[in-house]
């Protein structure tokens, strides 16, 4: 039983998505990394939830640093769209920055670059969001 609990806890830790945060120019930056596909989309949503709840009028803008993301599927893109919508509804600022070239292509092909604010790098995003 103890072994089972250990295995479950270990698996939970393995699948639990971590979004390390830092602050720059008044912008809350969360680092996203790895593959954002159908299997991780729900976990990504849960990991974003506490950050998004604070993404509101008068609070720090939320920026996702995507430099560590190597793949994003349609389900992952949907999570970003929902996040963008929630931030907008709360009159907060939400954006993504530093997409790797291949992930940038996925955004362009899916046209998600038209519905989720994207910046070339974190500095450019912070400059725009801090205004």
């Amino acid at each position: 039983m103890a072994y089972l609990a250990l295995v479950v806890a270990r698996n939970y830790c393995l699948t639990m998505m971590k979004l390390p945060t830092r602050e720059q120019s008044g912008v809350l930056i969360a680092e996203v990394s790895g593959r954002i596909d159908h299997t991780i989309a729900e976990e990504f949503t849960r990991a974003l939830a506490p950050l998004l709840s604070n993404c509101a009028l008068g609070r720090a803008p939320l920026l996702l640093d995507f430099s560590g993301v190597i793949y994003i599927s349609s389900a992952g893109l949907r999570v970003l769209m929902m996040a963008s919508r929630q931030a907008k509804a709360q009159q907060g600022s939400f954006a993504i920055a530093a997409l790797t070239p291949l992930v940038q292509e996925v955004f362009t092909i899916s046209r998600f670059n038209l519905i989720v604010p994207c910046y070339a790098n974190v500095d450019a995003a912070c400059q725009a969001l801090a205004q």
Partner: protein
């Protein structure tokens, strides 16, 4: 199954080329020719064949109608969009009258763009022909009759010369038809739609149009991946961009090239045909969409075998 022939590939509404469209193609071709002269017709044809498809050809504008060709004498057709008119003409031209033929027609759903070709499907007026209309909707026969009732159409359904039968299929259940196993699947679309999987002689074709895929429904994704499993050809509703399908056109009942690639990759399908083209897209936009979809497949392929991607156009024949 030997081949699939596309007679109508446009979504929602038949769409004609306009004079400006044709003028643009001529100008582009003349620019590409750059003052060259051609010795004969063959040289001209060779030059035209070298042009991009969006310049030397067109994706066409008839609404959904796809033929599956087998070794058997019966004809298998998916949907009766406006592409059914040239299909019917071609059958009459080939087989003549009287020369009774049997047509099996599979109807995805009852929206007009998928039925409107039936009153113009010439074989239905020829005595001796047998037409079996397969579908899963309870109102299948009513819908076919309705569009041929005054004041909608001048020729009443009762004027049909052919013998017309209706076969109500059960979703999820394999049916033996013309030596093939045909399995319908319920799809997300207003009023419901059904995809069809055809298996026979070691080949599989899936016809899946007017089908929306919700991005947060993992179970549905797995179901469709099973439905498409190892298919030689998946004919897929790629009407919208992913962003449109997930946002402003959510619940409009259609899908995207991105989801088509993802499902076919998960299903280990061999070939994807983008289908049910958005009427507002011109040939250049559709050609760009195809190039982008191929690029998406390339950058997301990983260790999988390559998925071949084509964009269906009226007249396209795909060898299985």
């Amino acid at each position: 199954m030997k081949q699939v022939r596309f007679w109508g590939t446009r979504g929602s509404l038949p769409t004609a080329l306009t004079s400006p469209d044709i003028r643009e193609k001529i100008v582009s071709a003349l620019v590409a020719a750059n003052g060259r002269s051609f010795r004969n017709r063959a040289a001209i044809d060779e030059f035209v064949d070298s042009l991009p498809f969006s310049v030397g050809g067109t994706f066409g504008g008839n609404s959904s109608c796809v033929e599956i060709l087998t070794d058997r004498p019966e004809h298998l057709i998916c949907d009766m969009g406006s592409g059914a008119r040239p299909l019917g003409q071609a059958k009459l031209a080939r087989f003549g009258v009287p020369n009774p033929q049997t047509y099996h027609i599979f109807i995805s759903h009852l929206h007009w763009d998928h039925l409107m070709g039936f009153p113009f499907f010439a074989p239905m007026y020829i005595p001796g022909n047998r037409i079996i209309i397969h579908g899963c909707h309870e109102q299948l026969e009513d819908a076919i009759r309705l569009q041929m009732r005054a004041p909608c159409f001048p020729v009443d359904y009762s004027q049909a010369g052919a013998s017309i039968e209706f076969d109500r299929m059960t979703p999820g259940k394999p049916h033996d038809i013309c030596g093939l196993t045909v399995t319908p699947k319920l799809q997300l679309h207003a009023g419901d739609s059904y995809g069809y999987r055809f298996d026979g002689n070691g080949k599989s074709v899936v016809y899946s149009t007017d089908s929306e895929h919700k991005l947060d429904d993992n179970e549905a994704f797995r179901e469709f991946a099973r439905f498409f499993s190892k298919a030689d050809l998946v004919i897929f509703d790629a009407m919208y961009s992913l962003a449109e399908a997930a946002s402003v056109k959510s619940d409009w009942g259609h899908s995207s090239n991105v989801v088509g690639v993802e499902l076919c990759q998960a299903a280990e399908a061999r070939r994807l045909a983008l289908f049910h083209h958005e009427p507002v897209h011109d040939d250049k936009q559709l050609a760009r969409l195809l190039a982008e979809t191929r690029r998406l497949e390339q950058i997301t392929r990983g260790d999988r075998p390559a998925l071949e991607i084509v964009s269906a156009h009226d007249g396209l024949i795909v060898d299985l």
